[in-house]
């Protein structure tokens, strides 16, 4: 062994300068290899998810029931704790595949997590069917049959899931060491966190999960479409449970969160959404990126203490997931302005309206979009976004008035956004054949574009746009001369 180490160190020591350290992940590689970073698109997002950071600001702690106060009931199948875990309410679970540990925390429905109480779930859950209901009902209706298999969302057929893993991405070497699931049952929201004392216990933990899954039809996650769920599927395969263990209808709230808050919030990581929109403030939260390190430390010496923060972090994720689900349920049910506050920023307003429309909730969307039209001050992109929708629907008059607002706003505030000018120029050139008018807008667009100096880097896209603008101008001038 030491002979091997010597040999290896001789080789490596001498090339140490060239060799990246084992933990160095940001390596450039050859063509084919670096493309592989993009290959599994989950990788980037998972990474994003992993570097979640709690805001450094001192946050107010939510008054009311703390987690420790929540009554904890013990599942019968679970026996005593191993001694080192005894102080933490973590119990040993045994099944035919082996052993692992689990902790269960039950929250009564009157528990408030931020702005929302779990009691709202019953009222909100049905509207979430919009995520999947339409396609199923419509599909079946088109065939002239009543869907027999379709199950709408009910309070108790939804499983919430969030993993803590040893690494990034959905690669086969990334092990979920903690599996957080949660569900509404009777008068409680129950969070169940499983943890494995070493990787060989994973099989038993997955067997436990597998046994629970048939009760649920829906899966709720945050970024689970690219990360948590594919990873679980991969783990089922790795552990010999096959590739089709459970095929839920998936509600990944990262995607609607992005649709709505992309430009309003600093980031769409759960921790930001939570603070800004759910009224949840974490105290001393462990950044997700540090979770693997804590687990490795535990593996090395068996002391569970460093993992307590991971339990806590995961638990809050599970609570926020439910709160977010409630919020989206309200939103889809048209309770904006009542259960959910009306967005104050035009950007969020227009995005929420358009999202609702895409979800088939035109009725709920209409007042929001009307609100956008009434707004006096907004960035050109707000008007443009709505104008694009009007254009698609053939509502040219509405679109034009919005583009004019946008163009005006851009010129007045010297914002380098000339999309509206181009749209107007195209409209006048092709629709009304008003070449002088088209020319005016194209000219102003170029002026706006050239106002900001090109600063070398990353401007190649802008340079291309400017070239395109010049072509447009040339063409219009030729037309004007005829």
């Amino acid at each position: 062994m030491s002979a091997f180490r010597d040999r290896f160190n001789r080789l490596r020591g001498n090339t140490a300068a060239a060799e990246p350290s084992i933990a160095d992940k940001e390596n450039g590689t050859t063509n084919a290899a670096s493309e592989a970073v993009v290959e599994e698109n989950g990788y980037v997002e998972a990474q994003e998810k992993f570097v979640q950071n709690c805001s450094e600001e001192q946050c107010e702690v939510e008054e009311g029931t703390t987690v420790e106060d929540a009554p904890i009931e013990q599942d019968e199948s679970e026996s005593e704790s191993p001694p080192e875990w005894a102080p933490y309410d973590v119990r040993l679970v045994r099944n035919e595949m082996g052993e692992f540990l689990a902790k269960e925390i039950r929250y009564p429905l009157d528990y408030h997590h931020g702005h929302h109480a779990f009691a709202e779930w019953g009222n909100a859950v049905n509207a979430l069917t919009a995520f999947h209901g339409d396609e199923q009902v419509m599909g079946a209706a088109a065939k002239g049959a009543v869907p027999s298999t379709f199950v709408p969302l009910r309070p108790d057929n939804v499983l919430f899931l969030d993993l803590e893993t040893t690494g990034l991405g959905a690669g086969t070497g990334n092990v979920p060491f903690m599996l957080g699931i949660a569900y509404f049952e009777g008068d409680h929201y129950i969070v169940r966190q499983s943890i494995i004392r070493h990787p060989a216990e994973e099989r038993a933990m997955l067997a436990d999960l597998k046994a629970r899954l048939p009760k649920y039809h829906y899966l709720v996650t945050y970024n689970g479409r690219t990360f948590d769920w594919p990873l679980i599927q991969s783990r089922f395969i790795m552990n010999g449970f096959g590739s089709k263990v459970w095929e839920p209808l998936h509600l990944d709230f990262l995607h609607p969160s992005r649709s709505i808050w992309r430009n309003t919030l600093v980031s769409c990581k759960l921790s930001y959404v939570e603070e800004e929109r759910l009224g949840v403030f974490r105290e001393d939260d462990l950044p997700g990126s540090e979770a693997p390190g804590r687990y490795f430390a535990y593996l090395a010496d068996g002391d569970p203490k460093p993992l307590l923060d991971v339990f806590r972090h995961n638990e809050i994720d599970m609570l926020s997931l439910a709160a977010l689900a409630i919020r989206f349920g309200h939103l889809l049910a048209g309770r904006i302005g009542t259960a959910v506050p009306m967005p104050t920023e035009p950007e969020e307003l227009v995005r929420t309206g358009l999202w609702l429309e895409r979800m088939g909730e035109e009725h709920s969307a209409a007042p929001l979009l009307a609100g956008v039209r009434r707004v006096q001050e907004a960035s050109p992109s707000v008007w443009n976004r709505l104008a694009e929708r009007d254009k698609r629907l053939g509502q040219w008059e509405d679109a034009i008035s919005l583009w004019q607002k946008a163009a005006h706003a851009a010129e007045r505030n010297a914002i380098s956004d000339w999309d509206a000018h181009i749209e107007l120029s195209m409209y006048y050139e092709h629709k009304t054949k008003d070449i002088p008018q088209a020319l005016t807008y194209a000219r102003s667009a170029l002026e706006l574009a050239l106002e900001q100096p090109l600063s070398g880097r990353a401007d190649s896209k802008r340079r291309k746009e400017i070239d395109a603008l010049r072509h447009r101008l040339d063409r219009l001038m030729r037309k004007a001369e005829k």
Binding site: A18, G28, T30, A33, T172, A200
Partner: protein, 761 residues
Amino acid sequence: MNQWTGRARDLEEWLEELKKEPELMDNVTHWHTIPPRDARTSPLPNDLAPELKEALRSRGIEDLYVHQAKSYGAVRAGDHVVAVTPTASGKTMCYNLPVLQSLLENSDGRALYMFPTKALAQDQVAELQKLADIMEVDIKTHTYDGDTPPTVRTAIRNAGHIVVTNPDMLHSAILPHHTKWVKLFENIRYIVIDELHAYRGVFGSHVANVIRRLKRICRFYGSSPQFICASATIDNPKEHAERLIGESVTLVNDNGAPMGEKHFIFYNPPVVNQQLGIRRSSVLETRKLAGMLLRQGVQTIVFARSRVRVELLLTYLQELVRDKIGDKTIRGYRGGYLPKLRREIEKGLRSGEIRGVVSTNALELGIDIGQLQACVLNGYPGTVASTWQQSGRAGRRKTSSVTFMVASSNPLDQYIIQNPDYFFNRPPERALIHPDNLLILIDHVKCAAYELPFELGETFGSENLEDMLEFLVDEKVLHRTGSRWYWMEQSFPAHGISLRSAAQENFIIIDMTEGSRVLGEVDRFSAPTLIHDEAIYIHEGVQYQVEKLDYHEKKAYVREVDVDYYTDANMAVELKVLHADKEKTSGEIVRTYGEVTVNAKATIFKKIRLRTHENIGSGPIHLPEEELHTSGYWFSFSEEAAKGKGTNEMQCALLGLANVLVHIAPVYLMCDPLDIRVVPQVKAIHTQRPTIYFYDRYPGGIGLSERLYEVHDELLGRAHRLISNCTCLSGCPACVGPIEEVGLLGKAQALQLLEEAGAGR
């Protein structure tokens, strides 16, 4: 011959005209004509599905060449197969036929094709899809590489019958995510590895390990696929295939494809200085020949050995024909070009729009550029195998083709050009790999552990696996529970491991002339000599000067310039012996194989004027020293052999000998000449004797020095013949080196030393 245009009717006529020009013919040392060869065929196999027979017939294929039929038979018999055939011999049919037949029999089956580059993969898919379309069967072929859009990836993983990819993609995307490929791995019947000869040296050693990992994953899903390999002509195809895939294989090497008449012309530039043995520059002669061909309208490929030469020749040729044909019809092609540009050039060559291309060996591989009519090699490509591969780029089944080999003045070129029999009668080189190189192996053990936990009793390569796993446990990369080792680390190991070069990272070249754009890249070993501060880096015929090399960030910032020189850098090398493994005495020479460390540092660069190639200045290079631990082979001369030589004389003798050896060593190795290095020492620290060292330029070695140790006697004998047969007076670039370098008596001293040592027979 058309009196007005000076153009010949066809290549045949032009070659006849050429024979009447004494000025050129004086330099032709050998004109080898390979007569046209008729096809040897077998009828379509009986068990071939009717729709497949029909599809072949509709494409004009009524029977198979014998090698295709034999390969089909062997695969059907359940053997792993390696088919060895030259360029344009219908090689792909050797594997496509059995794979398609198998898929027609069982549509759940899957096959994985591996090509060394993306471009090759894309060519394949088109061909397979065409056959599937003719048959009107649902056989889906897809490339899966970095260019595959994310939206279609899922479909390919689940439904692609034939997945065409490259080893890098297997290494960093497919294997680490094998659970997304359940359908493929559960049903995989065949693994096709084309361009087998490309997997040699460091790259091949990595790929052999990727294949070990691939087989391991297949076992996990309960499948044991058959390997079908295809290779260009090398000396040891069967052995190489067996080392690469770790299975015994059946060799098919009976080429039955027809070939038009082929002219192979050896061209030695005239001696311009008899005393110094200096010949006219091979670059200028290449320019002349390629220019003549291009003006005749013959589509021509020019191969040059270095990037710099490619760019030089490109500049010259574009100048030469600027007024005749448009600027875009003559292009360069080499590793540093970005993929999009390369695809554009390949397409232009196929369509005939591009009439001339100057390339490094990057175009040696089977990338589909159609068959050209003429090939000009600027210098001997370094190996017999490469020479045939490159020359195969010109050659059609029915009409004639021509290859010119223009010798440079280096000893190997001169040896080849003066000994045509050697070239035409010798088997090509052996492909060497060393998959158990410790550094390479441990990297792949990590990747394999990431893919699937290791189980006690498993093996991986020839090293003791348990030792390696325990070592990785100590390194806190793996975690052992009972009899299993699990990956327990945050990183994704494949991302830090590049299969392509010893260097883990390439240097990026950024053009700051206008804004900033990525121009290309250079591997780490080449960086100190190619893109040091003030270096002239030539890209697509345009000169750039390196303004700053950010060594730490691995970036070079360049700006377009227009100067009349290029740069050439020197390396200083220091060498220590760590350990001697094998030793043998023959005559007055002791030779040893063992481990060495090498410290190399780029020292100065010279500015060399374009066209005249005179030295017009120099400057220092300030870059960190590189340390390399590798395997080496060295031999030292006894006191007896060295007697009567002063330090100076010995210095000259050794230097002369080393100059010869470094150039003829590749005769025994299939490697880039830069992969093996030579260092002469008058009084070596280790042996205290005059010694010549060889070492592999890769950490841990890749088997090159070891092979040279084995052929030592033959190597020295060949060196002796080369020196004594050289017609120069007292040393020239074609043997021991120019007299400025080895002194007036260098040649005699080197010869004498060999004879004293008993190596001169």
